[in-house]
Every structure is written in C-alpha cells, then in structure tokens.
Symmetry: C2
Subunit: 528 residues, 2 copies
C-alpha cells in the first residue's frame, strides 16, 4: 500500500508544517478513496497452505484473479477457451486470423503497426484499478482523443447531408443557449431566486461562456469565429485579412439533431484525460498474462462445473487436442465466463445463482477497422484523433490517437454499431459489412473509395467465446438478480464486467474480480 | 505541393466514380484552403543566381526563411544573438544555464527527461504551417492535454479556498443554464421566433446537453453525477453502492467566478486535438536548425542595419569573441529580430517602418517550472495532464502531458503569469519567484512543500534577446502601423510573430516568414 503510506506521511507533514486548515484541505484533496471503489493494490494475507483455486477464463478478470491469488499464496489454475489470453481486451493486427460463428474466416491485412481493438479501446482517468495495473506492470499509456472539435457531426437529413464540424455545432449551440437565456434574464423573466447582482453575474458568465457580444447577442464576429472557426483564418505579413464565419441558424441547428453528441465528452467515462495503451488495448492483459502464463491452459472448453463439500471439479476439452473430456479439480473456483456462455454450461449451483446466470441478456456490437493508403483525415481535413458521429448505422468514425502526421497508411475505426443496426450488420458476411461501412463513411469522407485498402469486421454476437458484447442489466434485473449473481455459492464465485456496476468496461471486470477474490479469501480463511 | 496534387487527383476520382453530388461534397469537405492561410509547402521558383539574403535571428521565422530561401537557390547567411538557435521556442533541461537581464544566473536542476518550455508549449490543430514543418522534418508530436475535467478551478474567496474539480463546475454550470432556459421555454417566455415544435426540440436538447431530469430539473442524481462525479463511484461485485454527488448551489457558483475558465477549451487555439513535440517544444526548431546549421552564425549581436541601392550591410559583434565590430554584406535582408530589440538598433529604413518598429509595446509573461519527487497530482489526485486555474498570481498549474503513470519524478508548470502580476514576479529574484509559486500552488496542492525539489523561473521582460514576450498589438496600432511594418522597405523585409495576426504563436512567425520571403522573392525576381 505504498500510495496510502505516502499519503499518510504527507498529511502528517502538512499538519506539522501548515496547521489544521491546510491539513483539512490536504485531506479533502487527497481523499480519493471516498470517490473510488479502488483503494490501491490488494493485500490478501494469511492464505492457508495448499489451497487450489480454479479460475475459468483468462480475460482481464481471470488474469487479475490469477495474479493476485498466486501473490497471496494460493495454488492457481486457469482454463481459457481461446488460443490466446485477454478475452474481450483483444487487438487485431496484420496476420491475425479470426473465425466467427457461422464459419466466416477473416485474415487481418493491416500493415505493421496498425491495429483494431474490437473490444475496449479507451481507459477513463477514473478507472483507477485498470490504470494502476497498467502502471504496476509498466504498460505505457498515451492519450486517447475523445472529443475532436474539428471532427464531424453528420445527419443524413441535416444540411443536405453535408457534415458539420463539431466546433461549429458546439459554438453555435452554446452561443444560442446563452443568448436566449440572456434575453430571459434581461427581460426579468428568469424564474430563479437570484438577486439582481447574481443575475448580472449570470449575464456576465453567459457572455464569456457563449461568446456573446456586449449586447448579449450571438452573431458572426471574431468572437464567435474564435470558437467556430473563420472562413479565412488569420495569417502573417500581408496575407489576406481574416473573414469571420457565419453561425448556423438556430432553427436548423435544433432540427438537425446534431446537438445530440455535444455531451459525448462530458460524461465521466469520456472526459479528458482518457487513455489507451501504446500499441493496442491488449497490452495490459498481455502484461498480466506474462506474469501468470505458467498457470494458464489455453484452448480449454469448459463443459461442466461441479462442486461438493470438499472441492470443485471442472470438465473441459482441449480444442487443440483429441477432444476427449478431461477434468481438473480444485478447492475453490472463480468463474469469469460470460453469462451468455455460462448459461449454456452445466453448473452445480443453487437456484438463485442459476436464475441470475440465465437472467441477463447480452448486448451486441459491431466494430469495423478500415485501412487506407494515407491518413487523409489528417492531411486533407486536419482531423487528428477523436470521433465523428453520423446517424447512419456505422454511427462512429474513430480516428487513430497515435502516429499523428505520419506520412504512411492509417487505420480508422470505420464503424462502431449498437442496437438493431448491429444485428443487421452481423447478419452480413464480413466483407459485406466492410463494404457497407465504406459506403456510409464516404458520406463524411469522399476519399474512402480512392484510398481504401482492406478491412476487418467483428460482430460480437458471432464471437465464439461470448456470443454477445456485454451483460445488459436493467434496473429491474439488478434488483432481482445482481446480489445473487455476486454471492459466493458454496465454493464458487463469479466475476467479470457482468458482475459489476460498470458494465462493458474493463474496470468493472477488474473491480468485480478484486471484490470476488477478497470475499473468497475471507471465506477460505474462515473455513481453514 | 504534394497535398494539392493528391487532393486534385482525389477529386477527379470522386467525380468519375460517384458523380457531381459526391464531388461537391468532396470539394467542400476538402476545401481547407478556404480556411487556412497555409496552403502547403512553399514553391519559390526562378531565383536569380548569386543573390545573398541575410537573415537576422534564428528563431522559427528566421530558420524557416533560411531553409526555404536556400531551397529556392539563394545564398543565405543567418546571424543569431544567442548561443543557441530557436529563439522563444526554447526548452530548459537539466544542466542548462540561463542568465537573465540583471545578472541573475540559474542552472536548471531537473532530472533527465524533464523540461520546461518557457515560451510556446502547445501547437493547435489549425496551425497548419507549424504542423507541416513538424511532419516534413519528422518531428514526432503527442497530444497536449488542454482541458482536464479532473483538474481544479480555484478562487481564493470561493468555497473557502477549496479548489473545485473542472467537471463539477462545468456539469453544474451547464445544468443550471439548461434548467433556467428550460423554464423560460416551458413558461412561454422565450423571446425567439421558434415554433412550438422547435421549442420542443430545444427542450429535448437542453435535457440531453444539461443532464436534466424528465421535468427539466438539474438535481443530484446518477444523471448529473455521471458528469460531475459520484461521492462513491460504481464498483464491482458486492462493493458499496454508488452515491451520487450534490451539485454546487447556483448562487455560489455564479459568485465564485469559477465559470470564467469554462470556455478555455472552446477557443480554437485550445480546442482538442492540440499537440506538443515529444521531448520539448525546441524539437521543431532544432530539426530546422539541423537543416541550415552551416548558414547560421551564433553569438552575433547586431548593432547596425544599413541598406543602399546595391545591397545591405549588417554590423555585429561576436559576443563569444573579441567584441570588435564586424560587418556582413548581402543583397537583401530579412529581419526577424523582435521589435523590442530592433527598436534599439540603428536601421536604415523609411519613416513609416521606423515608426512601426517603435510603435508596438511588448507584453510580459513569467513561467516557472517546478520539479517534485513524485507525480503526486497523478498518484493522489488522478490529474493526468491538463491545467488547473487559480485567481492567484500564478494563474495556471500545468501538468505534464507525457509520462503518464510514471513512478518517478515530475515537473509541473508551476506558474504562467500575465499582466501586472508578471512584472511583480519579474521584479523578484528567481528563487523568490519559485518560492512564491510554491506558496500559491500549495493552496491547490498541499503536497508541494513535502515533495518539492527544485525550480527555475523565466520572466520574459528579463530575457536578454527580447526584453518581453510578444508584440502586443491593439486594433488602433494595427490600423496605423501593421501594413507599414510588413511592407518591404527598399531591400529589407521584417518577419516574426510581431508581423502577423497570430501574435505570440509560432504559427504567426512562420506564416509571416513565408509571406515575407514570398514577397521578397517576387521583388528580387522583378529586379533581376
């Protein structure tokens, strides 16, 4: 608990040096334990000897469990269905092959150095547990660009199908909102218990925040163009004089629906700063895997999970071997298999856990990576990283947050699809998905047809090890089943993003794993 | 003009493949020439033989000029006052020594890998010329984090001096603005020509953008806490349930003035994405310098600039030599010496240029770099890059946008001071500036006293090669003098950020240089 000690030492120093007020402030500003459910590296002490814990699944939850349980002194064995560790924390690179349910096989043709993360692709700053593992394992992180003011917002029916720049939509929306509220204040129509002085402060703030002129109007001017961009930018020497741009009309802006994405960077998970591991999202799980490699058996397809008074037994087949059923035994078991798969496996468990395992539906999602001959989004359009949004099925075009200005090729996230559209895309053959993403993306980037080289498409409902994307809890389902899913059932505990309040994120999987093994450890000690 | 050709080829391809509508869209979305005053690498053709251009100053303007003029076929000689090239694009690293006006000498004691950029420290995405030089010279860029939602906004008199997180202030400000405007709409008090349908759209947008509940209220709830943060965050397994946080009161928020910084990331120069060269801002000028090193004479202090019908002559002393005046002659001259210095040098020029040179006052600014034993802002407070703002004199605390999660030491920008405060800081001895920055910074980061190791402080009014920071044009001064400053006077042209509409930015210096040498080239050809 190095962090905790250094914080304590520090608080003591502050207290001595600067007295109580500074101490109070220090405590508040250091009090991140109050915010986070992660309070630093796990310290499991007093593990009984010769206890074996089986871990099912070598995704991030299973790998973290294996790493921590061995540190604590347990014997650990991990069974993993895939021929690789990492689960959904998966990175596709040139030469990788992937066969989906239904048999379609794709070979990733990206050039060296390029990749697609079909699963998680970013790590929020407040995902303390994942960040801490990256730090402890020496995995370098780089900023992921979420909001790019120069990226596009696009709707088929808005502005004749011509994409607008994020900066234009945001500047204009803020400007009009400020202007409209300013009018209400100035006309004494504000329904809020504010003194005249506070109303003046509100007006002042609206002017500053919304780029309003001295009369609280949002107009074409250097003030608004400093935010939305100029038609002709400022130059040097005797270059042509700058020309301010003209704001979008309020009415058309409201009708466009483009404002729907303005909050995309304001949600805590997407707030700057936000990160990605250098080289691909699998770098964290691969670093974990290197720590526990000797404990992990790949290609192990679990078919049965049994438990009794004395221990647990798991039946599996080696998918790379003779296909004959084998069995491994242990004292306790942590199962991180996604519920979409676990619900198809015979498991000895009480009815509440059985019901919980079968209760949670899985979302689907599709991601498509597209390699282009050059980084035209940077060279032609000055979009460096970030995301463009469209109301077409592809929904998202994600630009690489690395290799800025590189003269070579580039790989885009050409689609990130949710909901019914994901099932429609999933129903197509992989190369048809790619073609459709190209057609839709060309509405934002007409360079697509001339610059395209190759693509790869992952539809999560066809991914063999999960048949879906993540556990789609509803409030009702949580109230009924979540606690039952997480309680230790005899000698079995579950973990994974599906056993967390942070679904679909690695942080949820890691916190769930840490919580489950902490409780398992306590239970084991109490029984020893 | 590789970019232009590839754009043309592309448009032709699009036209053939997809017809006129796509072509139109392609043209619009590729039409960045309409936005930028930089249209790709300079192509100066037909330079007469054996023409020598003298360049005064090896900052970015002078280096770009030397690089481009030699490419064009000119003989070039550069005189630089400092013992290094780069001018204000300056990076201080461990071992560097710096003596300011007044004689105070500082030695930078940073550990290896850490640095302070006393001058420019970021490159906006729309500074196309600087970005293009970085690209052509192979200088790697990394994202500069401007807005960090987890950084602090601090005012001495607000919230008992306790800093607030940016995300809290922004979420709450947006929430209240949305709620207040929503009320005005719902009470039919909106003074805007919107149909009832558009008003409904406005309400819908306010709800989405401001995190309002179904009744258009901004309240403590998961909805607002998803943006401003939770008191207890979501966890995994059976960890404690999340607890939403409570918004700041509107009245107090308005009085705090903390909203003043909410537009800081909305101005085009600070919009994401924004960059820094890997390793320090001097990497671009150093890459340029490597290209023209043989043309540059360092330690050359210019004392007189003469011109006649046949050429120009510059008198200088070698500050590293015997101090005797020397003279270098040429046919034409590009002078990039800051006006604050040039106005003290004898120069043969017409009255309009003489007046312009003397007309422009220079701003002052102070930057202070502080090295700490550990990156406590990351470890304790989860602030990765970005900026905290305070209404104390230090104004800004800038966190490094690189080396995230590194277990070692860290260097902060501990102060970035403008206006009268800069002169007050500049009047102090360097180590007093550092001590004052430490005292003020400790109001945001109580770890300062325990973790501080060393610091360095640059007050630009005491920087010998400029005696100031940048040319502080007013609209009135521009109307009177700007054109005269930029016109070629006989055989002399001026360049630098002071000869641009983008003051204080490298982009202004580069565009000014490109414009000046283009006009100089045309003039030379016309006289040949």
């Amino acid at each position: 608990m190095q962090n905790t000690i250094s914080r304590r030492q520090l608080l003591s120093l502050v207290g001595k040096a600067a007295g109580g007020a500074a101490m109070y402030q220090a405590m508040s500003s250091l009090g991140f334990a109050a915010q986070s459910t992660y309070s630093g590296p796990l310290q499991l002490q007093g593990a009984p000897r010769n206890i074996t814990v089986l871990v099912l699944g070598a995704g991030i939850a299973g790998l973290v469990a294996a790493y921590e349980l061995r540190q604590a002194g347990y014997q650990v064995k991990v069974l993993e269905y895939n021929k690789r560790a990492g689960g959904r924390a998966w990175t596709l690179r040139g030469g990788d092959e992937y066969t989906e349910l239904g048999g379609a096989r794709q070979r990733c043709e990206f050039d060296q150095g390029h990749y697609l993360n079909p699963g998680p692709w970013r790590i929020p700053y407040n995902h303390h547990a994942v960040l801490d593992y990256a730090k402890r394992l020496g995995v370098p992180l780089e900023p992921f660009i979420q909001v790019n003011y120069n990226a596009y917002l696009h709707a088929k029916k808005a502005y004749g199908g011509k994409p607008q720049r994020y900066r234009e939509v945001q500047a204009d929306y803020h400007g009009y909102v400020a202007e409209l509220l300013g009018k209400a204040v100035n006309q004494n129509q504000l329904d809020a218990p504010l003194t005249r002085e506070d109303q003046e402060r509100l007006l002042e703030s609206l002017k500053s925040w919304g780029a309003l002129d001295k009369d609280y109007r949002y107009l074409s001017s250097p003030l608004s163009s400093d935010r939305r961009g100029y038609d002709v930018s400022h130059g040097g020497g005797l270059m042509p004089a700058s020309v301010p741009s003209k704001p979008l009309e309020l009415k058309e802006l409201l009708q466009s629906g483009l404002w729907q994405k303005l909050a995309a960077g304001s949600v805590q998970e997407f707030q700057s700063s936000i990160f990605q591991p250098v080289g691909g999202m699998d770098q964290i799980v691969q670093a974990l895997y290197r720590q526990v490699r000797d404990l992990v058996q790949l290609n192990a397809k679990v078919s049965k999970i049994e438990q009794g008074a004395d221990g647990v037994a798991v039946t599996y087949t080696d998918t790379d071997g003779d296909g004959a059923p084998r069995q491994v035994k242990g004292d306790w078991l942590l199962c991180t298999i996604p519920l979409s798969i676990l619900s198809q496996i015979e498991i000895d468990a009480g009815q509440p856990l059985q019901d919980a395992i079968r209760a949670v539906p899985y979302e689907n999602s599709v991601k498509i990576g597209l390699q282009f001959k050059r980084r035209f989004w940077e060279q032609d359009e000055h979009i460096y990283g970030g995301i463009s949004y469209t109301d077409q099925a592809i929904s998202t075009i994600g630009y690489p947050s690395t290799g800025f200005g590189h003269p070579g090729k580039g790989v885009l996230l050409g689609a990130y699809i949710w909901g019914p559209n994901a099932y429609e895309f999933g129903a197509l053959a992989p190369q048809q998905r790619v073609q459709l993403a190209l057609r839709q993306g060309a509405q934002l980037h007409p360079q697509y047809p001339a610059e395209f080289e190759n693509g790869i498409a992952v539809s999560w409902n066809r991914v063999p090890f999960i048949n879906g994307c993540f556990g789609a809890w509803t409030d009702e389902l949580r109230a009924q089943h979540y606690s039952n899913l997480c309680q230790i059932d005899g000698r079995i505990a579950l973990a994974g993003e599906h056993a967390s309040y942070i679904p679909a994120w690695q942080e949820g999987a890691v916190l769930s794993s840490l919580d489950a093994i902490s409780r398992l450890h306590a239970r084991i000690k109490s029984k020893a």
